[in-house]
């Protein structure tokens, strides 16, 4: 179980932060940019090769796996981009791009004097990054089979074992909802999630839930909750 995925509906929380800035510290912009460049230069994309030495895969799934595999108690201890910084640094070290000692030494140096940033690099690298941002990475595929459910069907959300990654929110597991709409075609996910069930292209649905079924006696009225869910996460609802 991934504690980090069981946020929906939690009680006893703080008032909402009204912080509308995207970055609250200057360094956060840098780690966001590094992540986006990694996504754009990732090896599985069908974009022109560049001189970048980045030759491995990096997608949202990798970033998310990092967040899901981190100590769940730390997840609630660190700010959003602090988690990115940890996950991305760890990736570059794990993949051998950078040695841990090298990163630590440079960090130490930058702590005691203003960062001296190197200059240079091929413009084609930045061109590819720009291209990726403008065209994206379309997960839509042709369907190999008709969708299992139709609008109006009652479904029960599955509760598969999650290993390194899942896209199933904890608050929906084992709950009953109604198919609100069936999205056209099929959607691949960025990686295979094993027994969790994602990977190959499959139909996706918008599923409607009565909040009273999700949080009995503990929610609001005149309110409907919709969630987009991959087909692997749905089962026909049978009387139990």
């Amino acid at each position: 179980m991934k504690l980090q995925h069981y946020l929906g509906g939690l009680e006893g929380l703080d008032p909402i932060s009204l912080e509308t800035r995207i970055f609250v510290e200057a360094w956060e912009e840098r780690i966001f940019g590094i992540h986006t460049a990694m996504m754009a230069l990732s090896s599985q994309l069908e974009l022109d090769a560049t001189s970048s030495t980045f030759n491995t895969e990096w997608t949202w799934a990798d970033l998310r796996k990092g967040a899901e595999s981190m100590n769940p108690f730390d997840y609630f201890k660190y700010r959003y981009y602090e988690k990115w910084l940890g996950g991305i640094s760890g990736y570059f070290v794990a993949k051998g791009y950078i040695a841990r000692a090298e990163l630590d030494a440079r960090t130490k140096a930058f702590l005691s004097s203003a960062p001296a940033m190197p200059r240079g690099g091929d413009a084609e690298v930045d061109a590819r990054v720009r291209k990726y941002l403008l065209i994206g990475d379309d997960p839509k595929r042709e369907r190999s089979a008709p969708p299992r459910f139709a609008a109006g069907d009652t479904v029960r959300v599955a509760d598969p074992n999650s290993v390194d990654h899942t896209r199933l929110p904890g608050h929906l597991r084992n709950k009953v909802g109604v198919i609100d709409s069936v999205y056209p075609d099929a959607y691949a996910y960025l990686c295979d999630t094993g027994p969790d069930g994602l990977g190959k292209a499959m139909p996706a649905y918008c599923v409607k839930f009565d909040p009273e079924d999700l949080w009995p006696g503990n929610t609001e009225t005149n309110f409907t909750f919709y969630a987009d869910l991959f087909e692997a996460y749905l089962e026909p609802a049978t009387a139990s």
């Binding site: 909402i16 009204l18 910084l85 941002l133 987009d228």
Partner: protein
């Protein structure tokens, strides 16, 4: 007991580490010294809430466009001639939730921070905050109240949680007293918060 302690120079270490990482990546040829700045420039001028605002304003003045936006969001977005032609990164499949006098829409991502980059840019901190993600799912009226938005109890709230490949945004209602305004002036009224459903659009006098 270190689990319960914080480093006292945490922000300074974060900042130094982020810059150290970037410096090493430049030196090792992974990215260039311009990469991060160029990405931020794209979000400053080509992918951002200024696009969403244009889309909303057009929907306000053009009922046929509004209908298309509701029924085939991507076809409508393509007409806008954005730099991304609509479907840029994190906007490959977007869906509009249209506010009406009867329904107020709210978008959330309880798992992370899914967000339609081409038309809304990058999400603000509150959207990524675990407290918002958790609370908006169960008690949206109370949450909206904290944003200063009190939704009439007779109006339905619909919350859209994006955990698959669709990225949602809200088309707010056109405020009263804006009949004389053109599309560009209308777009200037549309805030990112109104396209996420935690605010409504106010007339220029307000």
């Amino acid at each position: 007991m270190e689990r319960f302690e914080y480093s006292r120079d945490r922000e300074a270490v974060n900042a130094a580490r982020a810059r150290a990482l970037e410096a090493l990546l430049i030196e090792k040829g992974v990215i260039t010294s311009e990469t991060v700045d160029k990405i931020m420039a794209i979000f400053a001028t080509e992918m951002g809430p200024f696009n969403g605002a244009k889309l909303v304003a057009k929907a306000w003045v053009d009922p046929a466009f509004k209908t298309l936006l509701a029924q085939d969001t991507m076809a409508a977005v393509e007409q806008m001639n954005f730099a991304t032609k609509g479907a840029g990164a994190e906007g490959e499949h977007m869906k509009a939730a249209i506010n009406t006098p009867e329904v107020h829409n709210l978008i959330i991502c309880t798992l992370c921070s899914c967000y339609p980059w081409p038309i809304l840019g990058l999400p603000p901190y509150w959207y990524k905050d675990p407290s918002f993600r958790a609370r908006a799912a169960r008690e949206p009226r109370k949450v909206l109240g904290e944003f200063g938005l009190n939704i009439d109890p007779t109006k339905e709230i619909k919350t859209w949680d994006s955990s698959a490949q669709i990225r949602w945004f809200v088309v707010p209602e056109r405020p009263e007293g804006t009949e004389h305004l053109g599309e560009e002036q209308l777009a200037a009224l549309v805030t990112p918060e109104s396209m996420m459903g935690v605010a409504i659009v106010k007339p220029p006098s307000a």
